[in-house]
Subunit: 282 residues, 4 copies
Amino acid sequence: MTEQLATLLVSCADRKGIVASLAQALYGHGANILDADQHTDAEAGMFFQRIRFAVERRDGLDAAIGEVAAKFDMTWRIAYATHRARLAIFVSKYDHCLYDLLLRHRAGELPCDLAMVISNHADLAPVAAHFDVPFHHAPITKDTRAAVEAETLRRLDDAGVELVVLARYMQILSPGFVAARGPAGIINIHHSFLPAFVGASPYHQAYERGVKLIGATAHYVTDELDEGPIIEQGVVRCSHRDAVGDLIRKGRDLEKVTLAAAVRWHLEHRVLVYAGKTVVFD
Amino acid sequence: MTEQLATLLVSCADRKGIVASLAQALYGHGANILDADQHTDAEAGMFFQRIRFAVERRDGLDAAIGEVAAKFDMTWRIAYATHRARLAIFVSKYDHCLYDLLLRHRAGELPCDLAMVISNHADLAPVAAHFDVPFHHAPITKDTRAAVEAETLRRLDDAGVELVVLARYMQILSPGFVAARGPAGIINIHHSFLPAFVGASPYHQAYERGVKLIGATAHYVTDELDEGPIIEQGVVRCSHRDAVGDLIRKGRDLEKVTLAAAVRWHLEHRVLVYAGKTVVFD
Amino acid sequence: MTEQLATLLVSCADRKGIVASLAQALYGHGANILDADQHTDAEAGMFFQRIRFAVERRDGLDAAIGEVAAKFDMTWRIAYATHRARLAIFVSKYDHCLYDLLLRHRAGELPCDLAMVISNHADLAPVAAHFDVPFHHAPITKDTRAAVEAETLRRLDDAGVELVVLARYMQILSPGFVAARGPAGIINIHHSFLPAFVGASPYHQAYERGVKLIGATAHYVTDELDEGPIIEQGVVRCSHRDAVGDLIRKGRDLEKVTLAAAVRWHLEHRVLVYAGKTVVFD
Amino acid sequence: MTEQLATLLVSCADRKGIVASLAQALYGHGANILDADQHTDAEAGMFFQRIRFAVERRDGLDAAIGEVAAKFDMTWRIAYATHRARLAIFVSKYDHCLYDLLLRHRAGELPCDLAMVISNHADLAPVAAHFDVPFHHAPITKDTRAAVEAETLRRLDDAGVELVVLARYMQILSPGFVAARGPAGIINIHHSFLPAFVGASPYHQAYERGVKLIGATAHYVTDELDEGPIIEQGVVRCSHRDAVGDLIRKGRDLEKVTLAAAVRWHLEHRVLVYAGKTVVFD
């Protein structure tokens, strides 16, 4: 029998004995803990843990963990490394984040399958083709938005897509779409250091204000624009010499790196969401 | 005759021939240009220049530059290295920025004389004493604010103070006080990455929002709270592991370094203010 | 009965069941695990763990852990928060790291008692006095080195000093002195990005080479100069504009922050040494 | 008549009147100085300047500048924006730097024409094809090296290539090849923070040493391996958790950004080489 790698993510109200109970349940099942990281939010009284382990028998493991989970009223999930998440990338016309994700995927940095690229424009179809990823052109008008979103949701479901990545996608998703994909189902890259410069044209806003640093923020998408839980933020120096065009150029590099880190951490089951914030086990 | 070092700062609407005219005027006066940095804001059509030069004769130089300045309608000033600016530091109870400035001054990093430390509390008097800097205790209540500010302004004037540095001074200065000290007369350190988390308790706000970076901003003080021209910003990574106390600790390091850089650049005549922003020749 | 906070640090060859056994031993003793971080070096086949926990009864705990430790052939130690380590700071004439450590200690950032400042020069005695820390002047010549070191070792032992911090101490300690203080008993700040610019005058070397970044390295002291396990490194940008003096100024800031981080992590029992490297649980 | 943008780069022994003479020569020719940056190396007694200007008449300008240059014994060159440098990228099997340069070129970040990609392997031909850049497969063996290099030099000359970029090219160029391309004719990216970890497998060396930061260095190629003038360096944090594979992954991001910055600065005529170091006007 061959060992399988798996990751257990757990959150619950903090109490005595959680760590020992989980460790004991895993050990009792023959699992070898490779890596365990844990966080207690003293203020909120919450406990979070990520355990990577190797195990030979999957059967019975869910029941064993479930028993501990019931005792401590835990939210939990186990992800096996044999299961590769399926991912869809939404883009418009900017190609830098798309290329970056496709290249990182090919370099083995992102443990997932790329199910499709979806765009409201046809421009980036050749990029997807170059990387042998299916491309769907889904143009959107005010009148067709609802129908297109419904069809897109179907398409994602049919393809078993678990994570949607908005790689500078310039359309705002409806609350219904967001709800359908779940609370940690969509990652967006916002081209500013949130909560500064919320909304449109942040690089222009940054230029007007004369800031000496610009940023980028990768976050889960929720109903409230740019208010979702932050997964990662990056920053780069700028100066009076940087025109808006320079800020945009510097921003491209930031956006790529920041989004890629967030996506990788999500795919490696390192991110837990709680109270509008994230715990990122890095 | 011994040479003197001086710095010329100039701003005006951009036109052909400015650089040549200034260089010619200085050269014609026997000055040797050591360092010249220049910036043109194409969008605003503005020209900015900083020239460091060595000169043997001061007499006549103002007239020579003034002639060029009149032709191009320049705002300009010359600062001689022999003139050391006099500086006052305002503090409340936090000592980290105060110690930092006093130590940097003693290490020769800040080309100025420390005229005084002013505080609305008596706590930091021993710190000033340790560095042989006069300390004035100026407690403020709602009723005495106007009188205390008036007295402080007199004190600053009497001591020939040119720059006021708010080193985590926890009182808000009145518009009258700010106006009296001039548009680039007061530097403040704000403990956040402006324009994020404007106002009180930014580290608590940052904690609540779950950001992955915190910042600090050194800016000139204007009438509008936290809206003055930004001179320098710093940033440091944080994570879910950082409680508010950790953010405050990390912030102290940031505040010190960011404020000190802004003060040094001001004292080295590297900062020009235009349209609510700064040009920092570094 | 009041709870005590404690930290358990463990290292051993990696095997199945370690995490569960330790967690069970602590839980069986009534301890509540607050924070557990763990690392497996797959290449070296080594396991490392840091567990912070709260416990009411100390008696019996050593025996309980010792039993697990014997089974897995562990190296381990428990540090109780009630025990504050005693620290000695060695300096020569540079004061920036000394002030920095003294200020951080007073701000509560360094959980230790400052037993003494020792210097081969008398210059910094007033600094120690300002912070009410005993100062010992121990001048060293070629002929007196052995005797002075012997006396210093006695003095450290008498005062129960556990950690020596070389805060830009300009003397090289003898192998005997280093051995007497143990393998993780002395932290040094080296003013370069090791292993670049080993040895003397690294800022001059960096200037000559024309690097665009300079660094600082905090490391444990071993017999081989600048070869001890690295705890922390910092870096800052520089350019052709930076003369050696500027590099030294920038380096001061780096040295302070880098050394302070290393000392804090050591005092918080976050550092394990293995194979000439460190595991830093941050 | 339409204005042309141009950049003048100058270096010479420092003397009084250089700035004024150059500014006067340009002004006298009707040029408008847009941007002037200047550096004096006091220790070496050297003067460096970069002037960007707009001019209507090219004829006569060289003579005007040449007159000043002769007086001050300057090394100088003028680059007109209408002239786009031709660039060749050398690669082996790693594709990350190649993609990065091709994408930045297409995004308009690199003001040059891509003449060709040359590789000792055929693997990356499809990448060049995707971006419509000619690809030459030039396999090298010990016996064919001299002949292949000679043919490559011819090919570069025939195509008017001015700059060669080694984008993780895994062959060492012969001194003759390097000499033929001139002192600032080849830019290389070295995957370490030089001068640390010179030579092969720097990420493995960094792992063994247990450093807490890894770096990348873009430099001009000279005869001495990894000893050429440094143009740019980047750095990223790492920890005990990073296996060699993680360092390599982090390094890829660093290499891309660091190399691209160096190439861009070279193409924007921002780099001057002097005494084995660079002056980078940024």
